[in-house]
């Protein structure tokens, strides 16, 4: 008998004896549906305007830099301004409609994360510029995946993560975000799906907040 069979056997034997359901001594029988959960969680706003307001507020609390524009040209200008201020020597990005349009005009040397790229080269880049799958109004988060945001390391290894997004990508809450991911990818999921909420942080020394523990010190979201 394999260990797997032994453990599964023990689980099945153990579950022969039922356990009381939690709360009110077993009197609450229903397993709530996902849609009900939204009523109890922090809100994310119903209309686009509300959701944008929520996202802006959460992003500010997280010290993420969220900028909203009217056109992709304004996004290009904003990125050029950041590149200039931070004196980026080299940047990293991935193949994508938005990234290619925006990044190519910066005129900086670019590392594109394709199969076989060198991770120590990525480490030396001033910024990682990616697209995302969704922006979440409820929490000020964004969803990146290994398929549509240039792999696993691009959005976490360089000191500055810049996200390029379209306004239509804002969704109400985490439930909507996960639903979107399932609709888009199932059953062939990317190997990594990450919900990123603000720049990397730690409170491990005296519970004092420090940004940029291992991941990016800065997170900028440029949206149009």
């Amino acid at each position: 008998m394999t260990t797997r069979e032994k453990i599964m056997g023990r689980i099945r034997a153990a579950l022969q004896v039922p356990a009381l359901r939690p709360g009110l001594h077993g009197e609450v029988p229903q397993i709530p549906a996902g849609s009900e959960v939204q009523k109890w969680l922090p809100p994310g706003g119903e209309s686009f305007v509300d959701q944008l307001k929520h996202f802006r507020l959460r992003a500010a609390e997280l010290t993420a830099d969220f900028q909203m524009f009217d056109s992709v040209d304004e996004v290009k200008l904003a990125l050029a301004k950041i590149a200039n201020t931070e004196q980026w020597q080299r940047i990293a990005t991935h193949r994508g409609e938005l990234t290619e349009t925006v990044v190519n005009e910066l005129g900086l040397p670019v590392l594109t994360t394709t199969v076989g790229y060198d991770v120590s080269e990525l480490e030396a880049c001033g910024a990682g510029i990616t697209e995302c799958d969704a922006l979440i109004a409820q929490t000020g988060s964004l969803i990146v995946t290994s398929r549509d945001a240039g792999g696993r390391a691009l959005s976490v290894l360089p000191p500055h993560h810049v996200v390029l997004a379209r306004r239509g990508q804002i969704v109400r809450d985490l439930s909507a975000g996960f639903a979107l991911v399932q609709k888009k990818y199932a059953p062939k999921y990317p190997s990594m799906i990450s919900v990123v909420t603000g720049p990397s942080r730690t409170g491990d020394i005296e519970r004092i907040l420090v940004l940029g523990a291992h991941g990016p010190k800065k997170l900028t979201i440029l949206c149009y």
């Binding site: 689980i11 034997a13 939690p22 120590s120 730690t202 523990a213």
Partner: protein
Amino acid sequence: MDRKFRTGQPTHSLTMGSFSQTFKAGAGRVATNLRHRRLIQTALGKYEVARDKNRSAFQDWQAARQSAAITKWDAINHLDTYLEKFVAQLEERGAKVHWADTGAQALEIILGIIEQKNARSIIKSKAMTAEEIHLNEALEKAGLEVVESDLGEFIVQLRHEPPYHIVFPAMHLTRGEISELFQRELGSAPTDSPEELTMIARRALRKKYLTADVGITGANFAIAETGMVSITENEGNARLTAAVPKTMITLLGIEKVLPKLSDLALFLPMLATAGAGQALTCYNTLYGGPKQPGECDGPEEWHIVLLDNHRTELLADAEQRDALHCIRCGACLNVCPIFRNVGGHTYGTTYSGPIGSVITPHLRGLQDWKHLSNASSLCGACTETCPVKIDLHHHLLQNRRNAAVQKPSHGERFAYQIFAFAVNRPWIYGLGKKLGRLLQPLHGLVKGSAIDPAYAWTRTRELPPLAPKSFKDLWKARK
């Protein structure tokens, strides 16, 4: 900190009751340490403010708790079905799934993978399950270099100490102590800035990432529906551990299962709020396989080690089965008056606080660890704060009962027989009160000394004088 707790010695190698004695001695020492108290109160004070703020952002926290409790109930009470679903999908995407009965077996599997890959250096992100099986000791003993990448874990690893707390491993240290540690171990310049200290660790660990052969992670949730592991963190160290090394190993207990991907919409905010007082932690990442065709990075090989290590025994105890609902947020530790006074290291266990007191007797032996269930005021703060509504304080009572049934104490039984005899006869009780009033003035002569019959109490406390007249006397007089 007593080093013997770190080495995972079987409990019977120590003389009976020694865990209990060590606990008592440690508790006495730490509870009177004012510096410790100040540090813990400050850290947990900040946590409480942040937690309350984020809890109040929920539209209905109590309904969310009930929903989380039922979801976990469903997961644990159909564990076989969900585990099979979880594993089948992971295997389909090319992950290798291993099953381990015991900690020793899990170590054997992990060491086997590392040996087969001919790996020398290992980077690790935080995993309480790895603490449970004493993974770092085993790796070091095999001559491997293993580096903890979570800042708090990195600090306690440099101090050769176990984590102080499930979520805040270095909560018991000041920045000054951490600066001294870094000067000694890393040769850095002295600083009192937490930011500068974090950057020292960041620089030291970046090098390790780029050269590590194997990355080891834990997991917070195992999603049955989609066959994914969810890892919660703030620093980005787990993201890097899962991105850079060519081989990835994930160790998780079999109880981590959640039925659906959408369940995370509830569990991620609850874990962050209860655990760290955040609305959501910085990175909540799902892994569904090793590097997939067309992807540019990620591990070529991903091994998942599913650990039982007495969890199925806890599962078989239907009364306490809900202890397996635990999401390891540490909220019960933070509100526990015992934890706050005796500190995390005094427990001598991987899991401390109320949840540790409940599950350690199941994981490591009831008779050796029953004292933890007595180290409780039964105030119920743990049960009230638990985001998945584990009935913690009743489980402490059940552990006490089970321990007494398994191994009755004749002395205690005799004492209670005398007590019952006396209180069932009002005249004896009344006589006791009169004698007490007569003898109490004499107590002053021996109070606090070794021959004091009430020494255990009066050593650190005052016994108030008995009232000159009892309630019964007053009631009679009024009639």
